[in-house]
Amino acid sequence: MSAVTTTAPAVTEAPPAVRRKRRSLSPGRRLPATRLIGPVLLLALWAAASAAGRLDPGAVPAPWTVLETGARLWTEGTLPDDILTSLQRAASGFAIGLVAGVALALAAGLSRVGEALIDGTVNLNRAIPTLGLIPLFILWLGIGETFKIAIIAIVVYIPIYLNTHAALAGIDSRFVELAEVQGLNRFQFIRQIVIPGALPGFFVGLRLGVTGSWLGLVVLEQINATSGLGYLMFQAQNYGQSDVILVGLVVYGVFGLVSDSAVRLIERRVLSWRRTLSS
């Protein structure tokens, strides 16, 4: 008998308690301003390539050239006026599209008659490329501001209508039953159940609409305008001023980014009750 067996009962060593943690499927904690990393990286690449002389300055001018041109256009040129004109067009068209989209979605979502009249019509409208309506609208409304605003309004109202209507139709029927049990009248039902229930969809449509308003603006101002950012860029093309074109693109980009961020911010405030993957 060996010494080992005579000593205290040989305890087989327990396997080390491994605490396996489940792999988290959520994307993890949100870091501040991480959404800017991509664009900043792109800008750095552009600057590096320009500095190294790898880019033809006539085709793609360096970032600092674009900045200089922008500053020059701002102080000496028509850039402030052009931006203001473009902003006014986008804002008017967007406002009309927003109201129309929400009103039509409510009318179609809350009554069978409304649905019969509106839903098919909007989907027909959606099937026709809005920018293809430009020639007809010029004939009807003339070449002034009205037709531009009308086209932007159409580009905006369609995604807002579609997403809001889909969210309305998706409101849980159990909540409708609850509203009946609690004795809500039609107005209370709309205000307390329908609208909050449709808000998530509305915000998706709103973000698409905001981007769409800029998109429509670019096209409109490049074919039929005598002022505005698009006109500035179109003129620059004729004179081969690629730096001016880039100034216009940067302004469009900044506006797009800022308006989208604003909508996201409002969305996060309004929908704070939602605990989703992204929060």
Binding site: E180, V181, W273
Partner: protein, 237 residues
């Protein structure tokens, strides 16, 4: 169309020859029933026996259902569903006050169901039991003459259910509404109700008064009778 519902101020349910059918399949087949004011009634039955149809008829929720018969129900009716049905975009207190006002009453009702201090919580922050308590508070705020409950504890775990039984009975003793509780749980029916009905093929197959002071033997007897009425045979018990 479902029959006209007469509104009475006196809280009592009165059904005469109530019939409801879906796609020519008769679900309720001429039900006669009186529920006196303040009585706690449990309604048992297999799934598909028409329990929920009867409850929905009394609640006035059967819009597109064909049927006939006479139905009298009180004016103030509250319904508690199997799911808590709290609106996710309203805080707990606002959920309790849905369709009514009086913040103090809402706070008091939450206090009564043991949710004092959770007024500003979002429904997604509540556990299943807490959510169902909030639903109870919402039904209480309206001071119902009749409380209709459609398997309100069906989705809760066993321990929470026991606590909720005590809470519901306590609330009933304090406020004395008439209660119609739909359940498929025989023991729950005996624990809670003064009277148990068994619904079978659209008719009331058994109407059993429960003596709440009875001992364990009598309760065992109730259980056997109810199970027999539900068609549960000896060897399955």
């Amino acid at each position: 169309m479902a029959t006209h519902t007469e509104q009475l101020t006196r809280p009592a349910v009165r059904l005469r020859g109530l019939t409801r059918s879906f796609d020519r399949r008769t679900v309720l087949d001429g039900i006669d029933l009186d529920i006196p004011a303040g009585q706690f009634v449990a309604l048992l039955g297999h799934s598909g026996s028409g329990k929920s149809t009867l409850l929905r008829a009394i609640a006035g929720l059967d819009h597109q259902v064909t049927g006939s018969g006479q139905l009298t129900a009180p004016e103030r009716i509250s319904v508690v569903f199997q799911d808590s049905r709290l609106l996710p975009w309203r805080r707990v207190l606002d959920n309790v006050l849905l369709g009514t006002d009086g913040e103090d009453k809402g706070r008091a009702a939450l206090e009564e169901v043991g949710l004092g201090g959770r007024e500003q919580a979002w429904p997604s922050e509540l556990s299943g039991g807490e959510a169902q308590r909030a639903a109870l508070a919402r039904s209480l705020v309206r001071e119902p003459e009749l409380l209709l409950a459609d398997e309100p504890f069906g989705a809760l775990d066993a321990l929470t259910r026991i606590k909720m039984h005590a809470l519901l009975r306590e609330l009933w003793e304090r406020h004395r509404p008439s209660v119609l509780l739909v359940t498929h749980d025989v023991d729950e029916a005996i624990v809670l109700a003064d009277r148990v009905l068994v619904l079978e093929e659209g008719r009331i197959g058994l109407d059993l008064a429960i003596d709440r002071d009875a001992g364990a033997d009598a309760r065992g007897e109730y259980r056997l009778r109810l199970l027999a009425a539900l068609g549960v045979t000896e060897d399955l018990r």
